[in-house]
Symmetry: C2
Subunit: 372 residues, 2 copies
């Protein structure tokens, strides 16, 4: 979607901008890292909620796109994307019906399974529609949120194999709990420990079944760590495309004080709206436009460095200014790196695309609100 | 909007339901309290983001509706609502243009002012369009977020009075910082102290100008306290309609351990999706469907009392079960009272309306995402 070209400062606020130069570099760097490790990339759309961005990721070389919920997969499939993996359970009759409706449009759709009851319901529903489906076994490697326990994984895999409408293609092992460990070395040890719980399961399944070829794992915080695990075949990373303070502040292989591989492509523009106080101003972005999670949003750009954002209610933020800086006047637009990109993006209907200071387009956040 | 009648348990989750019996009682009780104090009610739509609910509030006797942002006012005016007061600053040329565009549709629209620069810009823009507008002086009574300092209020009021296109109709004094003080008695003292900062300003303006008749104040936490302040003429309460844990847990005049005047009309339905652990299950509502602010969502209803919700990532929640309760099976639907209703409502596109267990309709959350 194109807009009439205009300057970033003409945008009404609060709004989200995507810096295309940084975004494209992020996409290229992740794809290159995955490619040189001989693995595949199936990035997660739960972060950016945007089928246009997902299409860019596929154009850059991704083999497919991950979705957390059925409703996200619906939006992606309807937008023409293929190779969708739903990374969470789809356990109820209503959800399974929605799943099979999109499977009929996209036979490459995959989902995960972590429970016999879900296996039975999905298999039966597929049978009623005369369809079959590729699935992954979701293995719990310590997050304990979804997934079968490693000790029960082979048994559940055998159960899936015995169901006529399900094709077991491999496993998923997501270690969400280690993604934000600040120290790179500790994160590396923790992630390896988690994935080693799944490795023997994958090897066992591989040895029994030649179509069992997928080991999906990883997140932005451990992408380079997990690329060194020989059994892992594909990454389901999400935040690397947009980035946020929460990820920028963990250590990386190159620098244990900051995460250097990817830059802050996503920023929020906010305007100074009230200046009656000493030492701080009020801006027009609060809880409803910056999700309060993962720390505090950070001022982007050198012009206003030294200023600090603070939460100030549903509609407003406070930006404090050091004594040596004059407070910015009403109408000043500040740029923030969001604290946690995923839920913040989910508050907006569009990304404004920028190159330098120029607004060059708009992408609808068409998966926004797809929580079902 | 009507849906084909169905049972609450047929709704896909996560989703928001509004319990109409409780909602109607809440609306009636607030309207009755305001009426018997001889005051007016202009409830805040920033909470519910729904023009259908706003219309119910007007049908119950409200004289108008408050909006926090211009984009909310646009949606309300377009839905046919009148008597809109924008309670936050509208300071930039772009926002002022949007404001005047809706003023042309609704001459009863009002906004607040807290700065000379904003007065000048609004007055000039109105002049260019050949329009004039009712405004309130926003007085800062201790929140320090917006509003003129009490010591500078009369001077700014005189400045507004000297501008040809602005009609000063009174003041706004919102003490957001006292709304959630747990003790009713302490909250009462704090709110009175705040409002007393604005009372002399309002008296002075009243004595000079007979059209200066509005003193807008209050929130759900202090509605009954502020009704006893003789100068206050109208309340801009919001959360009382839907309610949340944050408000239900403060003391009230009747009971200092809970807020008894209003009930939890708003609930979120969530489904158990994974049950591989001992002592807890995973449900399908996380940060993206329950805004993480104001405490923890609470299980509603006696059937599952004793269970506790915990945050468990963007898409999921953990619900722990006491030892003496069997964990609920996959597919079980739980009902939660949200921790902070305003930003949670802003995550959804519709309320499902229920009476008892029957779904009787849908209201679009048409102000969702209106953060500009």
């Amino acid at each position: 979607m194109k807009t009439s070209l205009k300057n970033r400062s003409d945008l009404d606020t609060p709004c989200l901008v995507l810096d295309l130069d940084i975004l494209e570099t992020n996409l290229r760097k992740m794809q290159a890292a995955v490619h040189s490790a001989g693995k595949n990339l199936r990035p997660h759309a739960k972060t950016h909620k945007c089928s246009s961005l997902a299409r860019k990721q596929k154009e850059a070389g991704a083999i497919g796109i991950c979705a957390a919920k059925v409703s996200e997969a619906e939006a992606l499939v309807k937008a023409g994307l293929r190779g969708i993996l739903i990374t969470g359970p789809v356990p109820t009759p209503g959800k399974i019906k929605r799943l099979i409706d999109i499977l009929a449009m996209d036979p490459s759709l995959m989902t995960v399974l972590d429970h016999r009851g879900c296996v039975d319901r999905l298999n039966a529903a597929l049978g009623e529609r005369g369809l079959s489906m590729d699935v992954l076994l979701d293995v719990d490697v310590g997050l304990h949120r979804t997934g079968v326990k490693p000790s029960e994984a082979i048994e559940l895999a055998e159960y899936i194999l015995s169901r006529e409408n399900l094709h077991l293609r491999g496993i998923q092992a997501y270690a969400g709990q280690v993604q934000h460990i600040p120290s790179f070395d500790r994160r590396k040890i923790a992630s390896h420990q988690c994935l080693q719980e799944a490795v023997p399961i994958f090897r066992e399944l591989q040895s029994r079944l030649e179509t069992c070829t997928i080991f999906s794992a990883s997140g932005t915080g451990t992408f380079d760590i997990d690329l060194s695990v020989p059994e892992v075949t594909e990454l389901q990373v999400g935040s690397y495309a947009c980035m946020d303070v929460e990820y920028l502040d963990i250590g990386s292989a190159e620098d244990d004080r900051q995460f250097t591989p990817f830059g802050p492509a996503l920023r929020l523009l906010t305007t100074v709206v009230s200046t009656n106080q000493r030492g701080f101003v009020t801006v027009d972005a609060g809880l409803k436009s910056l999700y309060r999670d993962g720390g505090t949003p950070r001022i982007f750009g050198s012009e206003y460095s030294g200023m600090t954002y603070h939460w100030f209610g549903d509609e407003y933020g406070m930006v404090t200014c050091p004594d040596n800086i004059e407070i910015p006047p009403i109408g000043t637009i500040l740029e923030l790196v969001t604290s946690h990109c995923d839920p913040t993006i989910n508050l907006f209907d569009r990304f404004h695309l920028i190159r330098g200071t120029e607004v060059v387009g708009v992408w609808p956040i068409d998966l926004r609100g797809c929580s079902q």
